[in-house]
């Protein structure tokens, strides 16, 4: 098995994939706690569908390097969803549902009408579940992914204390003059960036799993926000690495393998919590 791995290790794209995959897993886990606790996870889910629709449009228009198109569209939708969501709660939920289902439908429709590909369902499947896209990144995309991931991690560390304050008690934060709207916007934009990044790793349908599972697992084990954040980052990186290695050696789809490992980690954490009591 080690031999198979070493054999693969000689290909630069495998090394890139592992490095970029690890970085993406790291930054996708950071906001997990905030998203779960702020009930923002539905926005994450909606945005991943938007990213799918945008990818489809990029494919139809044959825009090379489609991340440069998908990223701004998703960020824009994130901002719009946050704005509409600020009024009545129900309206916001409905808006997210409309946008996300609409993007899925239009995306698939466009692919069907205009795609020149002979293997349409294969393409759709690849976008939805990631399959092997992390292994087929071009050099420029590798750098873009790496740069964005580092930026996300840096932003998170820089605003860690404010994010905690805004997540824990929005009213108190607003009362003492913290620009809550600004940080909600920051969260939405960063989530959009993370989603587009993570699409390369696990595909658009499985992104929520990548964001939420490590946070939920870490919350089984730790009682402090800092502990949960660090643990969830470590778990996410470990699971992504393990998942990618299994996928490369065993030839399984990368995205679903990573998510399967995340689920296993969650079960282990839940078991530990259960027996500690």
């Amino acid at each position: 098995m080690i031999e198979t791995f070493l054999q693969y290790w000689q290909f630069p794209f495998v090394r890139y994939a592992l490095a970029v995959g690890t970085l993406i897993a790291l930054c996708s886990s950071l906001l997990g706690v905030t998203l779960v606790l702020k009930r923002f996870s539905f926005i994450g889910d909606g945005l991943s569908h938007v990213a799918f629709g945008a990818t489809a449009i990029a494919g139809v228009l044959r825009i090379g390097g489609d991340m440069l198109f998908v990223m701004p569209v998703t960020v824009l939708c994130a901002i719009l969803l946050l704005r509409t969501g600020r009024g009545a709660k129900v309206k916001g939920d409905a808006a997210v549902a409309m946008v996300s289902v609409g993007a899925l439908a239009i995306g698939y429709l466009l692919l069907n009408l205009f795609s020149s590909s002979t293997n349409l369902s294969g393409d759709v499947c690849a976008t939805l579940f990631g399959s092997t896209s992390i292994l087929t990144l071009q050099q420029s995309e590798v750098w873009l992914c790496a740069g964005l991931s580092v930026a996300v991690v840096a932003l998170f560390i820089l605003f860690y204390n404010r994010l905690f304050a805004v997540t824990f008690d929005e009213d108190f934060a607003r009362a003492v003059g913290t620009g809550v709207e600004r940080y909600n916007l920051l969260i939405a934009v960063v989530v959009a960036v993370i989603i587009v990044l993570a699409m390369n790793l696990v595909g658009s349908l499985l992104i929520s799993a990548l964001i939420i599972f490590p946070a939920l697992s870490a919350m089984r084990l730790f009682r402090s926000f800092k502990g949960v954040t660090i643990c969830s980052a470590a778990l996410s990186v470990a699971c992504a690495l393990a998942g990618m290695l299994i996928a490369i050696v065993g030839g399984t789809p990368v995205g679903s393998t990573i998510v399967a490992v995340d689920i296993a980690a969650f079960i282990v954490c839940a078991a530990i919590e259960h027996f500690r009591k």
Binding site: R162, F168, D171, F172, A175, V176, G177, T178, R223, G227
Partner: protein
């Protein structure tokens, strides 16, 4: 010079006024109790004073070098999710967020302030404990310590003793009285009219006819008489 002056204030939601023509002023060192029936708009008034919602009319003026963000706040019910993972220290420290300015991290003096306020609330031994595993009274003390980190001048308390047993209620009142003695101005919403007239220096009665004045004036006023009778029978 008053810390806070409300002039002809109208409060409510989406242009629907709950209360109109509210006038009152709070001087440094005052202990103001806001009383009134359920749903009369006490919490709404407090949220308006905090800048969490806009006044529909009138103005709230801050004097004596008080800035809008120098008000500590203890909410009625925190919308904090039950499963939020955070230690007591992390939460109290978040009261220092306005002191961050352009910094990204809390300084040593912020940490010292948080620890001092925890000790002031008699919770020094709980710094490392998980917030959600504390009792209701202990949680209130932690949130009060957090409010104290935000300011030493003015604290707004929205029913700080609701849901606490008599012993813990008495302890909580004693803590608040102590703060007032130390020079912190207190504005407190309370349903406990007896405790209110015993502790406060001023009463703001809302709902129906608005009353604002000293405790002695309130005892003599028709609203005060009626309300105290209703509650005590």
């Amino acid at each position: 010079m008053p810390l806070i002056t409300c002039r002809d204030l109208a409060i409510g939601y989406e242009s629907h006024a709950i209360l109109e023509h509210i006038h009152f002023a709070v001087d440094p060192g005052d202990y103001l109790c806001v009383v009134g029936e359920n749903g009369s708009g006490k919490s709404t008034l407090m949220r308006t004073m905090l800048g969490l919602q806009r006044p529909l009319a009138g103005a709230i003026e801050f004097g004596d070098d008080l800035r809008q963000n120098e008000i500590g706040y203890l909410p009625q019910q925190t919308a904090i999710q039950r499963d939020f993972p955070a230690t007591v220290r992390e939460i109290v420290l978040s009261g220092c967020q306005a002191r961050l300015g352009r910094r990204a991290f809390y300084s040593r003096s912020d940490r010292a302030l948080a620890d001092a306020n925890l000790a002031r609330m008699g919770m020094a031994g709980f710094a490392g404990r998980c917030y959600r595993e504390l009792s209701g009274g202990q949680q209130q003390r932690v949130l009060l310590a957090r409010a104290l980190c935000a300011t030493g001048k003015l604290i707004l308390l929205d029913e700080p003793v609701s849901g606490l047993d008599p012993k813990v209620t008495a302890e909580m009142y004693a803590l608040i009285d102590g703060l007032n003695v130390d020079g912190v101005t207190i504005i407190m919403i309370s349903h406990d009219i007896d405790a209110a007239v015993r502790r406060a220096s001023h009463i703001l009665h809302i709902g129906g006819e608005v009353f604002f004045g000293t405790v002695d004036a309130y005892r003599q006023s028709p609203q005060g008489r009626r309300f105290m009778e209703e509650v005590s029978t």
